[in-house]
Amino acid sequence: MSMDLKTEKKNDIIIIYVKEERLDAHNSGELKSEMQKLFEGGAKNILVDLKDVRFIDSSGLGALVSGFKNAISHQGNLKLSSLQPQVKSMFELTRLHRVFEIFASASEAQDNF
Protein backbone atom coordinates (compact mmCIF):
# COMPACT_ATOMS: atom_id res chain seq x y z
CA MET A 1 0.00 0.00 0.00
CA SER A 2 1.10 3.51 -0.66
CA MET A 3 -1.60 6.09 -0.75
CA ASP A 4 -1.01 9.46 -2.32
CA LEU A 5 -1.53 11.97 0.50
CA LYS A 6 -0.09 15.46 0.33
CA THR A 7 0.23 17.08 3.76
CA GLU A 8 0.69 20.81 4.28
CA LYS A 9 0.87 22.92 7.45
CA LYS A 10 -0.67 26.39 7.37
CA ASN A 11 -0.56 28.23 10.72
CA ASP A 12 -2.00 25.74 13.18
CA ILE A 13 -3.94 23.74 10.58
CA ILE A 14 -2.70 20.57 8.93
CA ILE A 15 -4.24 20.05 5.51
CA ILE A 16 -4.29 16.53 4.09
CA TYR A 17 -4.96 16.52 0.35
CA VAL A 18 -6.16 13.07 -0.68
CA LYS A 19 -4.63 12.72 -4.14
CA GLU A 20 -6.54 9.58 -5.06
CA GLU A 21 -9.50 9.03 -7.36
CA ARG A 22 -10.98 6.53 -4.92
CA LEU A 23 -11.12 6.57 -1.13
CA ASP A 24 -12.18 3.01 -0.42
CA ALA A 25 -11.52 -0.15 1.58
CA HIS A 26 -8.25 -0.57 -0.27
CA ASN A 27 -6.61 2.65 0.86
CA SER A 28 -8.69 4.33 3.58
CA GLY A 29 -6.88 2.50 6.37
CA GLU A 30 -3.82 4.56 5.53
CA LEU A 31 -5.66 7.86 5.79
CA LYS A 32 -7.10 6.73 9.11
CA SER A 33 -3.64 5.92 10.55
CA GLU A 34 -2.22 9.17 9.22
CA MET A 35 -4.88 11.23 11.03
CA GLN A 36 -4.44 9.18 14.20
CA LYS A 37 -0.68 9.71 14.12
CA LEU A 38 -1.13 13.46 13.67
CA PHE A 39 -3.60 13.85 16.54
CA GLU A 40 -1.43 11.69 18.79
CA GLY A 41 1.54 13.84 17.82
CA GLY A 42 -0.26 16.91 19.15
CA ALA A 43 -2.09 18.24 16.10
CA LYS A 44 -5.31 20.04 16.97
CA ASN A 45 -6.78 21.07 13.62
CA ILE A 46 -6.90 18.82 10.60
CA LEU A 47 -8.53 19.60 7.28
CA VAL A 48 -9.06 16.75 4.84
CA ASP A 49 -9.43 18.02 1.27
CA LEU A 50 -11.21 15.61 -1.08
CA LYS A 51 -10.95 17.59 -4.32
CA ASP A 52 -9.43 14.69 -6.29
CA VAL A 53 -11.70 12.03 -4.82
CA ARG A 54 -14.34 10.98 -7.32
CA PHE A 55 -15.49 7.92 -5.38
CA ILE A 56 -15.95 7.11 -1.70
CA ASP A 57 -17.29 3.91 -0.14
CA SER A 58 -18.43 3.08 3.39
CA SER A 59 -14.85 2.32 4.45
CA GLY A 60 -13.74 5.76 3.25
CA LEU A 61 -16.59 7.37 5.17
CA GLY A 62 -15.66 5.21 8.17
CA ALA A 63 -12.05 6.39 8.09
CA LEU A 64 -13.22 10.01 8.19
CA VAL A 65 -15.62 9.24 11.06
CA SER A 66 -12.74 7.62 12.91
CA GLY A 67 -10.65 10.76 12.36
CA PHE A 68 -13.52 12.90 13.60
CA LYS A 69 -13.82 10.87 16.82
CA ASN A 70 -10.06 11.07 17.25
CA ALA A 71 -10.26 14.84 16.92
CA ILE A 72 -12.92 15.04 19.64
CA SER A 73 -10.97 12.85 22.03
CA HIS A 74 -7.93 15.10 21.54
CA GLN A 75 -9.96 18.31 21.89
CA GLY A 76 -9.25 19.05 18.25
CA ASN A 77 -11.13 19.58 15.02
CA LEU A 78 -11.51 17.64 11.79
CA LYS A 79 -13.13 19.43 8.89
CA LEU A 80 -13.60 18.58 5.22
CA SER A 81 -13.37 20.50 1.97
CA SER A 82 -13.89 20.24 -1.81
CA LEU A 83 -16.36 17.35 -2.01
CA GLN A 84 -17.38 16.39 -5.52
CA PRO A 85 -21.17 16.13 -5.98
CA GLN A 86 -21.36 12.32 -5.98
CA VAL A 87 -19.12 12.12 -2.91
CA LYS A 88 -21.26 14.73 -1.18
CA SER A 89 -24.36 12.69 -1.88
CA MET A 90 -22.83 9.74 -0.01
CA PHE A 91 -22.45 11.97 3.07
CA GLU A 92 -26.08 12.97 2.72
CA LEU A 93 -27.33 9.42 2.29
CA THR A 94 -25.56 8.37 5.49
CA ARG A 95 -26.49 11.65 7.29
CA LEU A 96 -22.79 12.37 7.84
CA HIS A 97 -23.23 15.84 6.33
CA ARG A 98 -24.78 16.74 9.69
CA VAL A 99 -21.68 15.55 11.52
CA PHE A 100 -18.88 17.13 9.51
CA GLU A 101 -18.30 20.76 8.76
CA ILE A 102 -17.88 20.74 5.00
CA PHE A 103 -16.45 23.67 3.01
CA ALA A 104 -16.41 24.39 -0.70
CA SER A 105 -12.64 24.84 -0.81
CA ALA A 106 -9.56 24.31 1.34
CA SER A 107 -9.01 28.05 1.62
CA GLU A 108 -12.57 28.68 2.75
CA ALA A 109 -12.17 25.94 5.35
CA GLN A 110 -8.94 27.48 6.66
CA ASP A 111 -10.76 30.69 7.46
CA ASN A 112 -13.23 28.76 9.58
CA PHE A 113 -11.16 26.87 12.11
Binding site: D24, D57, F68, Q86
Partner: protein, 141 residues
Protein backbone atom coordinates in the same frame (compact mmCIF):
# COMPACT_ATOMS: atom_id res chain seq x y z
CA UNK B 1 -30.31 -15.82 -20.31
CA UNK B 2 -32.51 -13.86 -22.69
CA UNK B 3 -31.34 -13.21 -26.22
CA UNK B 4 -30.75 -9.53 -25.76
CA UNK B 5 -28.97 -9.74 -22.43
CA UNK B 6 -25.51 -8.71 -21.49
CA UNK B 7 -23.72 -10.94 -19.02
CA UNK B 8 -20.33 -10.24 -17.51
CA UNK B 9 -18.86 -12.89 -15.24
CA UNK B 10 -15.73 -11.87 -13.35
CA UNK B 11 -13.34 -13.78 -11.13
CA UNK B 12 -10.59 -11.85 -9.38
CA UNK B 13 -8.19 -12.61 -6.57
CA UNK B 14 -9.42 -12.00 -3.06
CA UNK B 15 -7.71 -8.62 -2.72
CA UNK B 16 -8.96 -5.08 -2.25
CA UNK B 17 -6.62 -3.83 -4.96
CA UNK B 18 -9.09 -5.18 -7.52
CA UNK B 19 -11.99 -3.12 -6.17
CA UNK B 20 -11.31 -0.30 -8.60
CA UNK B 21 -11.23 -2.65 -11.62
CA UNK B 22 -14.57 -4.21 -10.67
CA UNK B 23 -16.04 -0.79 -9.96
CA UNK B 24 -14.88 0.54 -13.31
CA UNK B 25 -16.29 -2.41 -15.23
CA UNK B 26 -19.59 -1.81 -13.43
CA UNK B 27 -19.50 1.84 -14.44
CA UNK B 28 -18.75 0.95 -18.06
CA UNK B 29 -21.76 -1.34 -18.17
CA UNK B 30 -24.05 1.19 -16.50
CA UNK B 31 -23.05 3.88 -18.96
CA UNK B 32 -24.00 1.56 -21.82
CA UNK B 33 -27.62 1.27 -20.66
CA UNK B 34 -29.29 3.60 -23.10
CA UNK B 35 -32.68 2.29 -22.09
CA UNK B 36 -32.19 3.66 -18.58
CA UNK B 37 -34.27 6.77 -18.15
CA UNK B 38 -32.50 8.26 -15.11
CA UNK B 39 -29.11 9.94 -14.96
CA UNK B 40 -26.54 7.45 -16.20
CA UNK B 41 -23.56 9.06 -14.45
CA UNK B 42 -25.35 8.66 -11.12
CA UNK B 43 -26.35 5.10 -11.92
CA UNK B 44 -22.72 4.36 -12.80
CA UNK B 45 -21.57 5.69 -9.40
CA UNK B 46 -24.18 3.64 -7.59
CA UNK B 47 -23.26 0.43 -9.43
CA UNK B 48 -19.59 1.09 -8.69
CA UNK B 49 -20.48 1.57 -5.02
CA UNK B 50 -22.66 -1.50 -4.51
CA UNK B 51 -20.08 -3.67 -6.29
CA UNK B 52 -17.37 -2.24 -4.05
CA UNK B 53 -19.36 -2.75 -0.84
CA UNK B 54 -20.38 -6.31 -1.71
CA UNK B 55 -16.87 -7.29 -2.80
CA UNK B 56 -15.32 -5.82 0.35
CA UNK B 57 -17.72 -7.85 2.49
CA UNK B 58 -16.93 -11.03 0.58
CA UNK B 59 -13.24 -10.37 1.18
CA UNK B 60 -13.58 -9.34 4.84
CA UNK B 61 -16.15 -11.75 6.18
CA UNK B 62 -16.10 -14.78 3.96
CA UNK B 63 -12.76 -15.23 2.27
CA UNK B 64 -10.49 -13.69 4.85
CA UNK B 65 -8.87 -16.87 6.01
CA UNK B 66 -7.88 -17.91 2.51
CA UNK B 67 -6.09 -15.32 0.41
CA UNK B 68 -6.01 -17.84 -2.43
CA UNK B 69 -9.77 -17.71 -2.84
CA UNK B 70 -11.30 -15.85 -5.73
CA UNK B 71 -14.13 -13.36 -5.63
CA UNK B 72 -16.80 -14.24 -8.15
CA UNK B 73 -19.12 -11.57 -9.50
CA UNK B 74 -21.81 -11.79 -12.17
CA UNK B 75 -23.44 -8.73 -13.71
CA UNK B 76 -26.49 -9.28 -15.86
CA UNK B 77 -28.55 -6.84 -17.85
CA UNK B 78 -31.91 -7.82 -19.20
CA UNK B 79 -34.54 -5.68 -20.78
CA UNK B 80 -35.84 -4.32 -17.54
CA UNK B 81 -33.24 -4.85 -14.83
CA UNK B 82 -29.58 -4.81 -13.92
CA UNK B 83 -28.78 -7.70 -11.59
CA UNK B 84 -25.53 -8.12 -9.67
CA UNK B 85 -24.53 -11.30 -7.89
CA UNK B 86 -21.55 -11.49 -5.58
CA UNK B 87 -20.66 -15.00 -4.46
CA UNK B 88 -18.76 -15.95 -1.34
CA UNK B 89 -17.73 -19.24 0.24
CA UNK B 90 -17.93 -18.17 3.87
CA UNK B 91 -20.26 -19.03 6.75
CA UNK B 92 -22.92 -16.65 5.50
CA UNK B 93 -25.14 -14.38 7.61
CA UNK B 94 -28.73 -13.34 7.90
CA UNK B 95 -29.02 -10.06 6.07
CA UNK B 96 -32.43 -9.39 7.60
CA UNK B 97 -30.88 -9.02 11.05
CA UNK B 98 -28.58 -6.19 9.90
CA UNK B 99 -30.11 -2.94 11.17
CA UNK B 100 -29.88 0.43 9.49
CA UNK B 101 -27.14 2.55 11.05
CA UNK B 102 -28.15 4.56 14.10
CA UNK B 103 -27.71 8.09 12.77
CA UNK B 104 -27.36 9.48 16.29
CA UNK B 105 -24.32 7.37 17.05
CA UNK B 106 -21.03 7.82 15.31
CA UNK B 107 -19.71 4.42 14.26
CA UNK B 108 -16.72 3.77 12.00
CA UNK B 109 -18.56 0.96 10.25
CA UNK B 110 -21.91 -0.62 9.48
CA UNK B 111 -22.92 1.44 6.44
CA UNK B 112 -22.22 -1.06 3.63
CA UNK B 113 -25.46 -3.06 3.58
CA UNK B 114 -27.39 0.15 4.27
CA UNK B 115 -25.90 1.80 1.18
CA UNK B 116 -26.63 -1.27 -0.95
CA UNK B 117 -30.24 -1.36 0.26
CA UNK B 118 -30.64 2.38 -0.31
CA UNK B 119 -29.37 2.31 -3.87
CA UNK B 120 -30.82 -0.94 -5.24
CA UNK B 121 -34.45 -1.92 -5.71
CA UNK B 122 -34.13 -5.38 -4.25
CA UNK B 123 -31.43 -7.11 -2.21
CA UNK B 124 -31.21 -10.63 -0.89
CA UNK B 125 -28.52 -12.90 0.52
CA UNK B 126 -28.93 -16.64 0.35
CA UNK B 127 -27.21 -20.00 0.41
CA UNK B 128 -26.26 -21.55 -2.89
CA UNK B 129 -24.23 -24.62 -3.75
CA UNK B 130 -20.73 -24.15 -2.32
CA UNK B 131 -21.46 -20.93 -0.52
CA UNK B 132 -23.65 -17.87 -0.59
CA UNK B 133 -24.70 -15.13 -2.91
CA UNK B 134 -25.63 -11.51 -2.38
CA UNK B 135 -28.07 -10.69 -5.16
CA UNK B 136 -29.12 -7.13 -5.83
CA UNK B 137 -31.11 -5.67 -8.65
CA UNK B 138 -32.06 -2.33 -10.06
CA UNK B 139 -35.05 -1.75 -12.32
CA UNK B 140 -34.19 0.08 -15.49
CA UNK B 141 -37.59 1.63 -16.16
Amino acid sequence: MEKKDIEVDIKVPNQTRYLSLIGRIGEDIAKELDKYTGDRETLAYHINLVLTEAMVNAIKYANAKDPEKLVHIVINISDDALVIKVFDKGQGFDINTIPSPDFNRLEDRGRGIFLIRSLMDSVCYKKVRNGNVLEMSKKLH
